[in-house]
């Protein structure tokens, strides 16, 4: 399986009166169809690592390849274009736009990318929701849905532009056991049946156990 994401000596430091090192010297590889869990104690830097891998933040040192393309020379807008087309994010809080219906939220990334016609966009959004068991919720606003349903809408939105890589930051952190189980299964399927690379940050050992591989981050470094 091809390597879709690779990092070398990735380091992120915050300048200031008291310099803080969030992530230090992390090298890793992620392949297609792989479900990778990143675990570690609170404040260990696992989320910061995820933001670096997701091009939301820039490393102060080290390099990052996405589909074998080096990303360090890219400007902010170019990084945004890569996120739009190749990456999907799921956060702990579902982060749906409150004024938009579930369907409209899922359509947003497609409308920004403009690869599909408006008709195709809506059809794809409907299908994504239906696949996650949300066909009934398509016309509901985020405040009319449960936490588990909202998180599934967020996953549908992350899948909108059919990205190769899904990055999830504590995706089950706010959910009850049942919903959490559903979301975990969905993420696992995205990797194993759809062949996407899924990288999930979690501190739920049960969730981490589902992963193909687990990386532990302590004090910003990978620990064995």
């Amino acid at each position: 399986m091809a390597i879709v994401l690779r990092s070398e000596h990735l380091t992120r430091k915050l300048a200031g009166d008291v310099p803080v090192t969030l992530v230090e010297d992390i090298s890793l590889e992620v392949r297609e169809g792989e479900f990778l869990a990143i675990i570690g104690p609170s404040g260990s830097g696992k989320s910061s690592l995820l933001y670096l891998l997701g091009l939301l933040d820039r490393p102060t040192e080290g390099r990052l390849w996405l589909n074998e393309v080096e990303t360090s020379g890219y400007g902010e807008d170019e990084l945004a274009d890569i996120r739009l087309a190749h990456l999907g994010f799921v956060f702990q809080a579902h982060f749906l736009l409150p004024e938009f219906q579930a369907l409209e939220n899922v359509m947003l990334p497609m409308q920004r990318l403009r690869r599909l016609s408006p008709g195709e966009t809506e059809a794809r959004a409907q299908k994504l929701l239906a696949d996650l068991g949300l066909a009934e919720q398509a016309r509901k606003y985020p405040h009319q849905m449960s936490g588990g349903q909202s998180q599934r809408v967020a996953i549908a939105r992350a899948l909108a532009n059919d990205p190769k890589i899904i990055l999830a930051d504590e995706p089950t952190g706010n959910l009850d056991t049942k919903s959490s189980g559903v979301v975990q299964q969905i993420l696992k399927n995205l990797a194993h049946t759809q062949g996407r690379a899924v990288i999930a940050v979690t501190h739920d050992p049960g969730f981490a156990a589902l992963a193909d591989r687990t990386l532990k981050v302590v004090d910003g470094r990978l620990s064995a």
Partner: protein, 415 residues
Amino acid sequence: MMPLLVSIAIKHLLARKRQSVVSLMGVVLGVAFFLAISTMMLGSEADFIRRLVDNTPHIIISDEYRNPHPQPVETAFPTGAVEIRSVKPETETRGIRGFNRILDYLCGLPDLKASPALAGQAVVSFAGKDVAISLSGVLPAELASVSTIQSYMTDGAITDLIANPDGIIVGSELMRVLSLHLGENITVAASTGQIHTFKILGVFHTGRASYDESQTFVALKRVQSLLGRSNRVNSIIIKLADPYAARDMAARIEAHIGYKALSWQEASEDIMSTLMIRNIIMYSVVSAVLIVAAFGIYNIISTVVMEKQRDIAILKSIGFHAVDIEWIFVTQGVLLGLVGCATGLPLGIVLMLILESFKFRVPGSSDPISLPLDWGWYQFAIAALFAFLAATLAALLPARKAAHVQPVDIIRGAS
């Protein structure tokens, strides 16, 4: 792409309906007041100038020179140390020399009507009362084309002087003071000592008491003989098709004939500058209203930006560019500006119609008057443009701030 950003912008505004409406009202009222006030101010200015322009000649040529003639010796020795003291000009009959030649020249100029006049002082004696009057000798047939006096006539007409050269037209105030009636005779004594009896053929009422009391019109020939200045006039009254060309035309005429030609602008320069200052004051006051409205817009969009940090972060993490975010919020300002104009302009028209329907009486005047209003497309354009610009600029600052939100900062804090 734009429709998507616009739809996000609209949803943000609709999510805060009450605040949006309040800031919208600022623009609406700003635009409406701008229109109503500028209409009144421009209307009163236009009314003022109309009265000024209509009731005074556009150009008066008088029997004076703007500068005294240079002495021949000074022209002969321009570099010499020449000083002449106690120069006494030759005594001559006052008046414009060769006015017929000047009138011929004036008739050759386009869009211009000219008529000569000779004005002098006289006294009317009647029933033991003496009233000083100004006797204007005019060509009755031509006067109507250079003066609006005909429109103030309450009895008779200026042209009645053609049929009866011994007639006189007087003001209503003089009639009242001397308890005269139409058709009666009055005796006029000129400063030369000559006396002539005139029959009252017509009466005018302009509303200016001193003018109505002292001004009279008679045939030019009669005044010339009464004042002993045969074949002389001391002013030429000119009306132009375009009153605003008076300044240039006066300069041209004066350069050609030498006599002083005074345009109405020059004669009322103080009033013109007063009107200008009034306009500046009006526009600053009215603009202030719109600037306050702009602060309202700045306020709501800043609030929306503060509240929507999370949404901005998520849109950027999905892959929206900074410029997309900026557009979302600038669009909100543009929308408020557009809707504000679209509502404010009709409201302004309604206000104008209400103002136009007002009728009131000035103390001491018998005729009810209404507010003079001046409608012009450019007022609508200025109001709309200014409101639109103010709204857009007010949105620009918070929009810039929104564009620079770093998604990681927000997501880190929220998770």
